[in-house]
Amino acid sequence: MVTLDNLKLGQSATVREFTDDFLSLKLTEMGCFPGEVVKLTNIAPFGDPIAIEVSGYQLSLRKQEAHTVIVERI
């Protein structure tokens, strides 16, 4: 188990749980919910934010936000 910000470019993982209450609400409504497979698709030039593929589209989020998502590498 790692947090989402620790994935490497191109790596996929399954979402397991969240550590922040508010962000968990925002993330689930954006289609990033436990059981869903996400893939790290892009990292901004200064290393932050990052972009993931989730529920069939691309979502960008800051590293500190990604840090609240616990995932399991596939």
């Binding site: 209450d21 508010f22 962000l23 968990s24 609400l25 925002k26 993330l27 689930t28 409504e29 954006m30 289609g31 919910f33 436990p34 869903e36 698709t41 892009n42 901004a44 030039p45 200064f46 290393g47 932050d48 934010p49 972009a51 529920s55 069939g56 589209y57 691309q58 979502l59 960008s60 989020l61 800051r62 936000e65």
Partner: protein, 668 residues
């Protein structure tokens, strides 16, 4: 649906990037209006169409990801659904057919509200291009409402949608987490009652509701996964190559920034140089109109009011239109193509430090041309606090109206040739003023970030939409509505202030003007000198003299005081007013004014009046001071509260006063 009303009210709801505005344009054509929702800064777009003798009113709600609002825009969208005044009869749920999974979350929530609704599979052409097969009938069965495939760009399916709206029905399907509801809200009779009371109460959401929201979201997606599996056949390899390749370029550490600066350069060229032409035409046209009106109408007070008060005021408003239209033309294209999200993506880390957002960059940099369109363009920033900070600090950046003031003052200070190596000293100082403005804006943002309080959580969880060709109709409509909002909302405030300013400069207590005029005839005083005498005798002149004690510590006399008052109309008016006061004639010809100012002696000391200390002090004052009624009016229009423009006025002018005082004390 109930008995036929004479006007059926339809609401369009959908995620941002669902192509909602394009669909709205396709439905209403040119029959649309822009208004405001009461008490908030969200624009209301509504329109109408007729279908089979029945009239429909259609409201394009702000984009929202769910019925649990997380921003002011989303809150408005949700409130309208339940509002008695709006009286929504039918809800049209707009989804992007290529990205149905995420869009279905909001769709199932709306279905659960038990209002008549219709689901639109928008941009069906793109889904077809990606070889997605959507089994529409299956989807209709599972959602129990009609589903219409639409391509809003060429209006395919629009008639089917209008037909479906007439037959919209309440779904009998249920998607919400019933068990959790029983556990957390045992007294609630339906999903609708929970959402309605949550939306209507203005308090922070309860722990209970948050718990429910999380479990409801997850529960819904488990059902959505089932729907997707049943209704959509995906090709083995999704065709995402184009977006991937473009992203590799647009978010590249070198090419990405190079492209962004190229875009900025193009926007600058347009709002600086290209806008100059229509602006000159507008000013020329109004000057002609003012001449004609003044000669046609009988001489007198009314003539003066109409020509120099009203017409001059309107001219000062209309002159902003080219810059606003051009800036929004580019912003609409950047938003519509999906590029704006990438620009935010690569700039976020830098801007975040200052309490700003990736999307603040374009508004801030555009204000080098003018703060008015910039403040309006801050609308693209969805986060309330980031948007307010951007609006508040943007006017600190030196705009083009300050340039004539800077040029005049710098040319007084550095007569002859001053060079440092190969650098021209005047150019260096000018650049310094711009740097100072930028620095002040960033520092102010940094401070405001700590001061401003908000209940809205700050986050940067943002969709990166697929790249699309811009929709010209959507772009045009946006430009049009922004220009209209400025002309009629901010415009009326600007007009009122310009009439006050006109009155102050063209009227004097008692018969002071008549006395001066008689004296002028008797003593053969030139018209230039008479104008100077009149300005001194006017209310503005009196005010200038009254405020002299207050501005004396900055090195300013009453003459500068008058110019400070009049340049509230626009900063460059400073130069014109100084020209009138020193009766150096044409304000276009600053050479004579410059010489007069240099030659000017202080009345008491008989030393040059415009010393370096005075010029520096004035220069710094113009960098920081809030000297622009149009900016204040626009800030009011965009924030819907007088406290924000008041804050701008106080903190900027306060900063200017203190800085000028410091500069004058040190140098003087």
């Amino acid at each position: 649906m109930g008995p036929l009303k004479n006007n059926i009210s339809v609401a369009l709801i959908g995620n941002p990037n669902s192509g909602k505005s394009t669909l709205f344009n396709a439905l209403t054509g040119l029959n649309q209006k822009t208004g405001n929702y009461a008490g908030v800064t969200v624009d209301k777009h509504y329109g109408s169409y007729k279908f089979k003798t029945q009239d429909y009113t259609i409201t394009d709600l702000p984009g929202t990801y769910s019925l649990y609002p997380k921003s002011i825009d989303e809150e408005v969208a949700c409130k309208v659904l339940f509002s008695k005044e709006e009286g929504i009869d039918v809800v049209v749920i707009v989804t992007d057919a290529s990205s149905l999974k995420r869009h279905l979350l909001l769709a199932t929530q709306v279905v659960d509200l038990k209002k008549p609704c219709v689901l639109v599979l928008n941009m069906i052409d793109e889904a077809n291009k990606n070889n997605l097969t959507i089994y529409k009938e299956e989807l209709e069965k599972l959602l129990d409402i009609s589903v219409v495939a639409v391509n809003s760009r060429n209006k395919e399916g629009i008639n089917d949608l209008k037909e479906a709206i007439t037959k919209a029905k309440i779904s009998s399907a249920i998607f919400y987490d019933f068990e959790k509801q029983m556990q957390l809200f045992p007294q609630a009779t339906s999903y609708q009652t929970i959402i309605e009371s949550a939306v209507k109460s203005n308090e922070a959401h309860s722990e209970q509701l948050k718990q429910y929201e999380l479990s409801d979201n997850i529960f819904r997606f488990s059902k959505i996964n089932y729907i997707i599996a049943k209704c959509i056949k995906k090709p083995e390899q999704l065709n995402k190559n184009i977006t991937q390749k473009l992203d590799a370029f647009f978010t590249h550490k070198i090419f990405g920034f190079a492209f962004f600066f190229l875009i900025l350069f193009i926007i600058f060229q347009f709002i600086f140089y290209v806008a100059e032409f229509p602006m000159t035409w507008i000013e020329g046209g109004f000057a002609n109109l003012m001449n004609i009106t003044s000669s046609v109408l009988p001489k007198g007070q009314l003539n003066d009011l109409i020509v120099n008060g009203v017409l001059a005021g309107i001219s000062g408003i209309v002159v902003f239109v080219p810059q606003i239209a051009l800036l929004f033309f580019f912003i609409a294209i950047l938003e519509d193509t999906g590029y704006m999200a990438r620009a935010s993506f690569i700039l976020d880390k830098i801007m975040r430090r200052f309490g700003l957002n990736g999307k603040s960059v374009i508004p801030m940099l555009s204000s080098v041309a003018c703060a008015v369109p910039s403040i309006m363009s801050a609308r693209t920033i969805t986060n309330w606090k980031d948007r307010m900070i951007t609006i508040l600090v943007t006017p600190l950046i030196s705009c083009s109206a300050r340039l004539p003031v800077y040029t005049l003052l710098i040319s007084i200070m550095f007569v002859g040739h001053h060079t440092v190596g190969i650098l021209n000293f005047q150019g260096l100082v000018l650049m310094g003023m711009y740097v100072l403005g930028f620095a002040a804006a960033l520092i102010a943002a940094y401070i405001l970030k700590r001061i401003l309080k908000t209940t809205e959580k700050s986050y940067f969880i943002m969709e990166l939409p697929v790249y699309r060709m811009p929709q010209w109709q959507t772009v045009t409509m946006l430009v049009f509505s922004k220009v209209k909002i400025f002309l009629f909302d901010a415009g009326k405030i600007i007009l009122a202030i310009s009439i006050v300013l006109w009155f102050l400069t063209s009227h004097a207590p008692a018969d002071n003007f008549e006395v001066l005029e008689k004296n002028a005839v008797a003593n053969n005083v030139s018209e230039q000198d008479l104008n100077a005498q009149k300005l001194e005798a006017s209310y503005a002149g009196i005010l200038g003299k009254k405020m002299e004690p207050a501005i004396k510590p900055l090195g300013f006399d009453w003459k500068i005081g008058i110019a400070l008052i009049t340049s509230f109309a626009a900063r460059e008016v400073f130069v014109g007013t100084m020209a009138t006061i020193y009766s150096s004639g044409d304000s276009e010809n600053t050479e004579t004014l410059r010489e007069k100012l240099i030659a000017q002696k202080n009345f008491e000391t008989q030393q040059p009046a415009y010393t370096n200390a005075v010029c520096w002090s004035l220069l710094i004052f113009y960098v920081f001071a809030m000297q622009c009624m149009s900016t204040l009016a626009t800030t009011y229009r965009e924030t819907k509260h007088w406290k924000w423009p008041a804050l701008q006025l106080v903190f900027m002018t306060g900063l200017a006063y203190l800085s000028s005082f410091l500069v004058y004390t040190v140098l003087g």
